[in-house]
Symmetry: C2
Subunit: 221 residues, 2 copies
């Protein structure tokens, strides 16, 4: 159901989603290399670090341009900058969190988001006892204020940390506000609208996808 064609702005699309899923991993490795003082890297070397074939890396990059030099490889700093720009990771993103229960608080206190440019700048909860309280430096707001706050603060990403039974409703509310990217921690199969990206964080599901290999005695990788 993917519509291949041109995109409103001149950006190349029709890039396979699998490619988009890999680029952040390239970015991460390149960042580490840059920090380690590495200047040039070949697709061979990158591939070894990521358990990916060199051809795959070259092909992935070729969707966006020609970043390498024959015989030398890629300039780490340059490629990193290019990839960050392509992925929209050369800027900050404002994030809104829905649900400030135990999980929501853990998310608010997780120090890994901000350094990567993801700033949780608003928190919402349906529980009137929580609304108005300050949690993790944020004033918890009512769900009624969702639409207003999302627009006022230019929030473009939503994180859902509410009980499963409320998750789909919250996701619907977020989409109604024009949110196009949602990270859900609820163990459900979310129904999304076209043009909205939803990713799930679901440790149990992750475990459940491994037990097959444990019980089947399979020798597969």
């Amino acid at each position: 159901m993917v519509i291949r064609g041109s995109t409103p702005m001149g950006m190349p699309s029709g890039v396979p989603e699998v490619v988009i899923m890999r680029l952040p991993q390239y970015i991460r490795i390149l960042s580490e290399m840059l920090a380690g003082g590495v200047e040039m890297v070949s697709s061979q070397q990158l591939g070894e670090m990521l358990q990916v074939t060199p051809a795959q890396i070259r092909k992935d990059l070729s969707y966006f341009g020609r970043f390498g030099k024959q015989g030398r490889g890629y300039n780490v700093k340059g490629l990193l900058a290019e990839l960050k720009e392509i992925m929209g990771l050369d800027r900050s993103w404002n994030v809104g969190l829905v649900g400030v229960g135990r999980l929501g608080r853990a998310i608010l206190s997780y120090p890994g988001f901000a350094p990567e440019g993801f700033h949780i700048i608003a928190a919402f909860d349906a529980d009137p006892n929580l609304v108005g309280r300050v949690i993790g430096n944020l004033n918890v707001q009512s769900m009624n204020e969702l639409d207003t706050v999302v627009k006022e603060l230019d929030i473009s990403i939503g994180i859902v940390a509410v009980p499963s039974r409320h998750a789909q409703g919250v996701i619907d509310r977020l989409m109604d506000c024009g949110i196009k990217a949602i990270l859900s921690y609820a163990p459900i199969a979310p129904q999304g609208q076209a043009g909205v990206k939803i990713r799930n964080i679901d440790p149990v599901l992750s475990l459940q996808t491994m037990t097959f290999y444990l019980s089947s005695g399979s020798a597969e990788d």
Copy 2:
């Protein structure tokens, strides 16, 4: 059914990994349906709930057997039982946690694992100040005891909740103990051995795979 090489026990393997990734989702929906009193379900209905085509569901199931009845669909209870058995989810699994810092404690207090048969029965940490303390009903043990405890308690799954810089080392240690399934919360690209399944929980990476679509103005789903 394509048999691509036999497995030590009679189990069919050569099942695409994508299929294995989807089955737990089918299981989840079927569980909900069973709880809701639904008796029969068609691939059409299942597909709507999961945003998957009916043909895909039928094909996925056909790797393992013929569970449906023409004209009627699948018996919810029966299919659920079959799928659980196939995936090794009709039993309990013992899990060991490495790292009892903030994240590790959050994992220990997460109530979602046990009901699905994943029991965290041992916790380890490299920090001598933590070893011997009781956290989440578990006596934190030294990394030196890893091998012994894994074997004694029949632990077959490891969860890694240590700082990134130690994650690969911990993963290596777990693999050395014979652990074949690892859930890592560290934001790294883990290097695994053949025959070992590793899944990552990485919210930042998940966010980073969505921003492309936010910034490109793409109309893709």
